[in-house]
Amino acid sequence: MGKPEVITPKHTAKDYKSAVKPVWCPGCGHFGVQSALFRALAYLDLPPQQVAVISGIGCSSRLPNYTACYGFHGVHGRALAVATGLKLARPELTVLTVGGDGDGFSIGGNHFLHACRRNVDMTYIVMDNEVYGMTKGQPSPTTPPDWDSKIAPGGTGINPFLPLAVALASGANFIARGYAGDPNDVARMLVEAIRHPGFSFVQVLSQCITYRPEEKEWKHSVHASPEEPATTMVAAAQRLVGEDSLTTGVLYKGERLSYTAHIHPVQRSLAEIEESFVL
């Protein structure tokens, strides 16, 4: 390893933090994702007013409230639809979508598929704790089938959703997995994801200390992939076969062109716009 990279940004991580105190449980992995995001934005030296953080519903979807960036805390599962519209209308903004596994893969599952397929230039961060935390611990799409709980005695018996495989098959242009307990590594991934053109998907394993306390053990079981990112879908798919869902790193970097809007704005006066809303 050579000399470390010296940076000279005008911004620090604190510049992206709002005055709103997070209501996440102490020990929640989402604090690590928040730290990683702020460190990544500071590294990229993006002015907060040039960044929009869009979310749906759930513990992790509260994140826009905790940033000093623009934010939209939207409708359950519909964050990607809102973010897509925003990015197409305001392509100069850095658009980040954040949420949880339930919001993204169940309620918003269909939007996830089509966001990957459309390949609009934005980054989607899913803080995956494998449970619906905000509504008191129901199994989510990524919950292991044998997770025993009061609400699902004996487990659901249903195979979990495989977010990376689905993202790859659906056309996402950048796919990575991080671990919230390693915010500096997640920050590095987010920097790469934001810089990479097209739809970037980053799954972050983020422990739910309240309903899935056993996830504290992730710190001993996650492991970094020794491999460089795959550049073809076939190579990426081969790496996903038989993997244990605890491998971190950038899985895939594609070269698809981003979708951009072919909009030709019509110049209209405010009076004309208002007139169009009159019934």
């Binding site: 020990g27 307990g181 915010p183």
Partner: protein, 170 residues
């Protein structure tokens, strides 16, 4: 661990280590405020204030030379984050002062180990002297925190059990 080879790099690491400790302690203080544990909130605020003084001290040591800033993943920590930051996931809303002070002692011990390793590995005598001095200060901080912790009883097993479990908050 990759060796730190210049005084500038050492000061950059010391500055990041203390600054990130301030941020994490403030974050934990806010968590305790939100979760109605005012005693712990005060304790974490106090510790953040102490660490802020250490940030000032590093800035004073740097003098007129601007402190280097590295990419977050380029710092040569032995741990996943800066060693004086309480690791993500080590908090709980029912923490007692004994727990909090134990977390703080562990932070100081990791910081001591970091600086001691820099001192051990460098062939540069100026760097070695400064890193060893920093390691010694961290040892002293850990000792002070141990004395502080001795005022509190060790919590009974089951301290985290809450018969009125948390509900989602609005």
């Amino acid at each position: 661990m990759n060796t730190i080879t210049t005084l500038e790099e050492l000061l950059a690491h010391a500055h990041a280590l203390e600054s990130e400790a301030v941020e994490r302690y403030e974050e934990m203080a806010e968590q305790m405020e939100v979760h109605n544990n005012p005693e712990l909130a005060e304790l974490f605020h106090k510790m953040a204030a102490v660490e802020r003084k250490h940030v000032d001290k590093v800035e004073h040591l740097a003098g007129d030379n601007p402190l280097l800033r590295l990419a977050p993943w380029e710092y040569r920590w032995q741990t996943q984050e800066a060693p004086e930051s309480v690791p993500v996931g080590h908090s709980h809303y029912r923490l007692t002062p004994y727990h909090a002070l134990s977390l703080m002692i562990a932070c100081e011990e990791r910081a001591q180990a970091f600086f001691a390793e820099v001192a051990r590995a460098t062939p540069d005598s100026t760097l070695r002297t400064m890193a060893a001095q920093m390691a010694e200060e961290e040892t002293h901080h850990a000792e002070l925190l141990r004395q502080w912790r001795s005022r509190y009883p060790e919590p009974e097993p089951g301290w985290e059990v809450d018969l009125d479990e948390p509900v989602s908050q609005e």
